[in-house]
Amino acid sequence: MNLSTNSTEPVIRVENVSRWFGSVVSVSDVSFDIKPGITGLLGPNGAGKTTLLRMITGLAEVSDGSITMFGEPVRNNSHLYRRIGVMSEHETVYEFMKGREFVKMMGRLKDVSNLDSAVDRAISLVDLADAAHRPMGTYSRGMRQRMRLAATLVHDPEILILDEPLNGADPRQRVHFQNLLKQLASEGRTIVLSSHILEEVEQIAETVLLIVNGKLAASGDFHAIRAALDERPYHIRVISDSPRELASEIVKLESVDAVNVDPDGAIVVLSRNVRDLQIELPRLAQKKSVRVRRVEPLDDSLESVFGYLVER
């Protein structure tokens, strides 16, 4: 299927959107356009990704601003759902229903013509034909996700909005899923995919929207954002028998910006080239006959990565 959408025109437009719950601001004045292809919505847990996706799909009301798809408002515009496929992050399914029944019901609700062949096609896309006649209550987490994806694809939507779709998927399923999304995008579809895992988005998304604390922290080409991440300094903690002696050697390394020795005897190294430090540290320890007991990153959490990008 080749879709006729003009790739220069935004398919989804989010303008100055905010959402608050009482005094808590979940999404704050966010604006962006989404064009055909795969867009990754990236951010730590609790950043506001799901709220934003729920507003984009019309499930939740915006407190301020506007959201349009194909130039039309989404909320309470039910006919648009013929063109949109949405897979929420929740894995709950109708447990009493067989997989094929579920996909067929969703196809019927979406008014799909040639329903049986559309259902077979959607189920084969997610590689679940063998389990299609089993109740979904017996499915594993990954199988549920795949059957829900089949139900999302049954009406061949132009826009796919997927909230944390790789939750519960094993490595083989992830590869299959990523290939499937790339194939769907190559046919001209617009795919928005949220995740809190950087590497997951890196492998498939061409464009990234980075959400932190309900705000759009960065957006654009994934590789530019990744390059910015590579320049990020890391704090590494080194526990050794002789911290002062080892620190005096570490500070001489070109890749090291600063070295501190904590009162408890731990060395904290600030480096922009962790790989170089990984290679040099054992050599230095051996040279000075110092025993290194532990090496650990202090700020390798996703939150700190996002925090770095936001501060830039």
Partner: protein, 238 residues
Amino acid sequence: MSSVYRLTLRQLSGRWRLLITLLLAALPVVMGVMWRLIEGDSFPDLEYQEVALNAMLAGAIIPLITLAIATAAFSNEVEDRTLANLTLSPIPRWQIVVPKLLGSLTIGGIFLTVSALATSYIVFSGDMTATIAITAGAVVAIVLYTTVFLWAGLLTTRSIAFGLLYVFLWEGLFSQNVTVVRFLSIRHYAITLMHRMDDRLFADGEHLSTGVVIGAAASVFVIFLLLAIRRLRTMDVP
């Protein structure tokens, strides 16, 4: 609409729900059989009518069963977060609410209508005027309670607590003791209809006119159906 209707039937047809519904619906029938065995062929007196038909059937069994079934039609989908499957489909909201209502009426209504029919037929020794009057009053109560509780299932996650307060305070306490509340009491609509269709039933009570009851019942049905549709349009779907 048929997809949502069939889905609702399957969601509400859990074994335990059906079993409890069956047992509750059988209570008035069992009580009717016992009364008939004790009292013989005599026409049920006002005390029996008040206790078995008014307080038990219209005041407890019908509202409790419809509460359990109608609130579940939406609240289970809200709790399971499956409601988005329906609201993300290209169908107007009324085409979700109406089949949900019909599904709730099918599951709860069948048991309750058969219960009212069997109870009245047994107790009134096959007197068709009384049987039809009681069954018709019960059907009106089933439809109205179901519509109100369907809306409650969308309104709050504590719809059962809301419903119990409504049944026992509004319908049970206030409508029996505060005259003006009878204008807004489903239980009283049912009792009035039974009386208007057979004046031997609840003969000593103060009843509204037939026109007022029909108008009020139709208004309750339409208003709460529209409220449910509106709620589904304006709520944040989880």
